[in-house]
């Protein structure tokens, strides 16, 4: 017996919601970053689910693109985070508002 598609979609929505809320309420930069990854993967899961449901390989192709972009984003994002922590070990996201207008 196979799991119905709606369950996958529900799981993806929950993961996305957790990621979004985490991004908004947490202050630790690293955690916020992980939340972003969670949201990206929630979207990936949605794509895969729809690809199976609609029998369309296109959805799975998009997932590869998202993975590549996410990998690039991790490289840049982690580099920024590391350089922030080098200056101030206890920095939170709210301490960094240098671009205030």
């Amino acid at each position: 017996m196979s799991v119905p598609g709606a369950w996958y979609l529900g799981l993806a929505a929950m993961l996305f919601g957790i990621g979004a809320i985490g991004l908004l309420i947490r202050r630790n930069v690293l955690i916020m970053f992980m939340c972003v990854e969670l949201m990206l993967n929630a979207v990936n899961l949605t794509f895969v689910t729809f690809a199976r449901m609609l029998n369309d390989i296109g959805g799975q192709v998009v997932v590869f693109f998202v993975l590549v972009v996410a990998a690039a984003e991790v490289v840049v994002g982690l580099a920024i985070i590391v350089s922030i922590f080098r200056r101030r070990a206890d920095a939170t996201a709210d301490d960094i508002s240098l671009l205030k207008g």
């Binding site: 979004a20 991004l23 908004l24 916020m32 996201a93 709210d94 960094i96 508002s97 240098l98 671009l99 205030k100 207008g101």
Partner: protein
């Protein structure tokens, strides 16, 4: 030799370039001699071309030289080329001849000036432009020279630009000339639209196909150009002010050559003028009125150069009277004799000013013939020539003009006759004041009164000094010009035959020989009575000077004041309006308003940029939700 015609303008151009590059190193007086040598060279070439042309027969006397293509756009193809025919060669001969003499004179006159080489740079550039004007084979190239001489005139009038009056006079000349140039340009547009060409030969040969209206329009527009350049009513006002320039400039540009360009242009297009009798009548009327009007002013001027300036305006009026009467040869004849005697008079005046240490007021001169024998002798020849005393040159040319005017219209002739009388009067007044009478520059009370005269330059002559004769470089041109002014009358009948090929309809004097003789007698009596009148007033003191110099004439009929009211005042008001209302309020206001708007908007919007990542994330989330909600609401 004919093929060397391009050398005539090229030599002064070379002189201009050489002096521009190395003039300062050559200095005073070498730069002057280089410039003079170029003009003499040009004159020699012009003489050679003249003899070549003489070797040909009547109708064949035309040679065109095409140098290179200058402008080629669409249907317009303008070549730089020269048209050698009796008219252009006559002009080239007297421009280079008189020009060379005046260049030589300037070597002495400008000696010691700070910007001596610059003066000759301009002078050579002027000669180049003037020769392009007269020798070119198309309207456009003539226009190039026309503008060139205008620019040089501006440079040279304001040569002593340290004096505000000189700078202003230069600007006035330039601006007034622009009004006329506007007419010239419109005429060229019309010619191109009609003929599809701006070259003289096709235009003038096709002129007989013109309709009456087109011919009149072209003639009048060209005449507007001529009015500006040749200082006729109502655009003459710049010429008297142009006397602020050095005296050789006044002689060369504002007496002998540039101001006659308008007359030359009219004669050049005579086939078109002949088709427009209305335009001819207008030209004759303007000429006669200008001649009369300027002569009245000249009777009451005290500045030695101002008298000559108004006299030039008046004599140019004569030339236009001749053109308007269809007597083109008489116009050119008078132009040539006028170039001789007026250049002579101006150079003589320059010599007087030089010898009197920059004094220009005739009321503080007198008895100079004892001190300056060459200057006074030559000046007297010039005086007799311009006054029309036989057998001097001015008599013959003026007589031709008056005869032509008599046949055209008796009223115009009468104005011309009155003008001739006044010409004799004011020139005699000048000669008597400057060279005869008492030595007024000596008297202490004169010097004192002079000192109080605020309107006058303070650097004039006072007290104990002796007027001195000018150096040989200045005296030599005077003597040569005096010779020409004396015997120039013999050119009369050769010139008539010589110029015949360029005229569409040679002018024939219809009057009987007894009428001619009668007119000659009347003219001569007029001239002599003018001299006699001046003699009794200025040497015998029969009449108080004030009564013959009414205020209105001293102020030149208040024309400058009138122009100030009707042209300058509205112009100034408009400029003020543009500067302080349109520019400051409207244009600056728009620009500053846009800036202020952007700035205010930016100030409000910058608060959105909090710098907190979570705020941005929240905004993205809210935005995404809003878009989704919108999509759901639409599909539902």
């Amino acid at each position: 030799m004919m093929h060397a015609v391009w050398l005539i303008p090229a030599l002064p151009l070379t002189g201009f370039l050489i002096l521009l590059a190395t003039g300062r190193r050559m200095g005073d007086p070498k730069a002057g001699y280089v410039a003079t040598a170029m003009m003499v060279g040009a004159f020699v070439v012009a003489v050679g071309v003249f003899f070549d042309l003489m070797g040909l027969h009547g109708e064949e006397r035309r040679f065109q030289q095409d140098l290179f293509s200058w402008i080629s756009v669409g249907g317009l193809d303008v070549h730089v080329g020269f048209l050698v025919d009796p008219l252009s060669v006559t002009m080239a001969l007297f421009v280079t001849g008189v020009g060379a003499l005046i260049h030589l004179y300037s070597v002495g006159y400008m000696h010691g000036d700070e910007r001596y080489p610059t003066f000759f740079v301009y002078l050579n550039l002027f000669a180049f432009s003037m020769l392009m004007l007269v020798l070119s084979d198309s309207f456009l190239l003539t226009f190039l020279g026309w503008e060139g001489v205008g620019a040089c005139s501006y440079f040279l009038i304001s040569f002593w630009f340290e004096r505000p009056s000189a700078a202003t006079a230069g600007k006035k000349a330039f601006v007034t000339n622009r009004v006329g140039d506007f007419g010239f340009m419109l005429a060229m547009f019309l010619i191109f639209a009609t003929f599809g060409s701006l070259n003289y030969v096709p235009v003038l040969e096709g002129a007989h196909e013109l309709t009456h209206v087109t011919a009149t329009a072209i003639a009048l527009l060209l005449f507007v150009g001529a009015v500006g350049k040749s200082a006729q009513l109502p655009l003459y006002v710049w010429l008297p002010d142009a006397m602020e320039g050095p005296t050789p400039v006044s002689a060369l540009i504002h007496a002998a050559t540039m101001v006659t360009a308008g007359v030359f242009l009219m004669v050049r297009v005579n086939p078109i003028l002949n088709l427009a009798p209305g335009a001819l009548t207008l030209i004759a009327t303007i000429g006669a009125l200008t001649a009369f009007f300027a002569a009245t002013i000249a009777c009451a001027q005290n500045d030695i150069k101002k008298v000559l300036a108004y006299s030039t305006v008046s004599q140019l009026g004569y030339m236009f009277l001749a053109v308007g009467s269809g007597a083109y040869v008489a116009a050119i004849f008078h132009m040539v004799t006028h170039a001789f005697f007026k250049a002579l008079l101006f150079l003589g005046a320059g010599s007087v000013i030089h010898g009197m240490h920059d004094e220009q007021d005739m009321k503080y001169m007198g008895a100079l013939r004892k001190w300056m024998p060459i200057t006074s002798g030559t000046f007297i020849v010039g005086w007799l020539a311009i006054a029309g005393v036989p057998p001097f040159s001015g008599f013959w040319s003026k007589d031709d003009i008056l005869l032509a005017a008599f046949e055209k219209n008796k009223a115009l002739w009468f104005i011309g006759l009155l003008t001739a009388l006044m010409t004799a009067y004011y020139m005699s007044r000048q000669v008597f004041l400057v060279f005869y009478g008492g030595e007024r520059w000596k008297k202490p009370e004169a010097a004192e009164a002079h000192g109080e005269d605020v309107a006058h330059d303070a650097h004039g002559a006072h007290g104990d000094f002796k007027p001195h004769e000018s150096p040989p470089t200045m005296a030599f041109p005077l003597v040569v010009l005096a010779g020409l002014a004396a015997v120039g009358g013999i050119l009369k009948s050769p010139l008539e035959r010589w110029l015949e090929p360029v005229l569409a309809h040679p002018h024939e004097f219809a009057s009987s020989s007894s009428t001619k003789l009668g007119l000659i007698v009347v003219t001569t009596v007029g001239a002599l009575s003018g001299i006699g009148l001046a003699y009794s007033i200025w040497l015998r003191n029969r009449v108080r000077a004030e009564t013959v110099e009414p205020e209105v004439l001293r102020h030149a009929w208040y024309v400058d004041a009138l122009y100030q009211k009707i042209v300058e005042a509205p112009g100034r008001a408009l400029a003020n309006f543009s500067a302080f209302v349109v520019d400051a309020k409207v244009i600056d206001g728009t620009v500053n308003g846009v800036g202020a708007l952007v700035r205010a908007g930016g100030t409000r919007l910058r608060t959105v940029q909090s710098g907190f990542v979570r705020n941005y994330a929240l905004a993205v989330a809210v935005g995404a939700v809003a878009i989704l909600a919108y999509a759901v609401a639409r599909s539902a």
